[in-house]
Symmetry: C2
Subunit: 289 residues, 2 copies
Amino acid sequence: MVHSGGPPVTGRSPAENAQLALLLEVAGTPKPGNVDRERDLPDLRFEHFLAGAVGAGEGIRAAEAGAPVGEAFETAVARMSDQSGGNTQFGALLLLVPLVRAGAEGELSRDGVRAVVEATTVADAAAFYRAFEHVDVRVDEPAPDVDAPDVRRGADAVPDLRERDLTLFDVLAESAEVDGVAREWVGGFERTFSVAEAVAAGDGPVSDRAARAFLDQLAAEPDTHVAKQHGGGVARNVMVRAQEARDGNDPALVDAFAEALVGEGINPGTTADVVAAGLFVALERGVTV
Amino acid sequence: MVHSGGPPVTGRSPAENAQLALLLEVAGTPKPGNVDRERDLPDLRFEHFLAGAVGAGEGIRAAEAGAPVGEAFETAVARMSDQSGGNTQFGALLLLVPLVRAGAEGELSRDGVRAVVEATTVADAAAFYRAFEHVDVRVDEPAPDVDAPDVRRGADAVPDLRERDLTLFDVLAESAEVDGVAREWVGGFERTFSVAEAVAAGDGPVSDRAARAFLDQLAAEPDTHVAKQHGGGVARNVMVRAQEARDGNDPALVDAFAEALVGEGINPGTTADVVAAGLFVALERGVTV
């Protein structure tokens, strides 16, 4: 909105805070295993995340303006992908889009965002499946007990969704056990709001607080992206190593852990997604940069 | 724009490329004397630039949509300033806003942007003066031969501008000798397009190319921000040291120079502004991240 005549309005909107959350998340360092201000991965660099955050802006602003969650998410993912690094912020956007909707409605609480995700429709689910066609997201064979269509089918799954009347909430509920982002949707964004509280209670630069929150979260739960890529044993092992690195009270230990994970090709992406979501909530609640 | 039904459009718009240029500029390292991916200054941190780039988005999008240059610039500066670091991207925005207008009109050439700046009005000048009220920009006593009102007067200068029929182009022409950003306006964005060519001709990550372009530009001309803060002698000295650091062909020399400038509190901001503008042109011309 441009205000001809009057002075420009200040204060970031929910969409702007979401975009800033994506940037602060990737700027936080050390963030073991992930791209951060000090580390690139071989084919995934800091600047891919910058371009992803800029590209995602349109979809995030659509969510703020009232577009359906699925449509806003699909737009955000498609435009995020307009860089050569591949998937940078798919999971973070799946959390941020309903959070931005809740924020725009003035209901940014666990109940508020729960209402947004529970109101999703079959059309939202269809857009979510289409989003997979815009980006190369790590997806495995579905577990035998998962009842939703395989996301690898992309738009081909849409008739199935319609026939079975599956909403986006229904679809994500099916993978809540194996996917930490889906678990946030189903569980009222518990970790997201917990990260927001930790960031708000911290001090110093916000990106430093984000890095601390990342390590705490990595030490608290196995990262489901790591579990999908390397198996549950590796994910639990990373969790234990994160606890040791954190509890050693020596920044050099955390740095060494960060270097080791990069070397092993282990990339705790779900934990980063939850931290980005928590940063958004913290910014909306008045944490200042 | 959200396209209900059809697939999302890909490809960044001029406004998105401008926002990405701001981010790639600050991410480039080493960028001697300035905040970069590896260095913060005592009161001006990387994350202030991230928040500045996000905040500036609204004004940049207004420029793309056809808002007058002055109004778009004032909005961009006001919203950029919604962080605690102070002035992060004032000069870069003064270059980017007319470049985005030219890009949105499909005329992103030196002649195209010259036409945009030459078409600015007294109302644009008034918005420029008002923009100083939103941010703490380094401004000295005007030189005795400068005929435009002192920008430190902010909105109080507006009646003077109107009486003397001074456009924003006229105002900047008055300071072209002492201000490298104003010189771009008056001289058809010569350095901006030269940086764009260097970035396009380079290889590797775009933020690395930005850092190389920064050092080349710093070695080519005294930085006018340094001259305003520390005097012309210091600015010329920095230029010569930049030549030595670059021509030594040893990254350690450049790093040592970067550390030295930070230690001396010398901050070549105008050179960074020109690099951001050049990055924008390079992105618009197809350089990919």
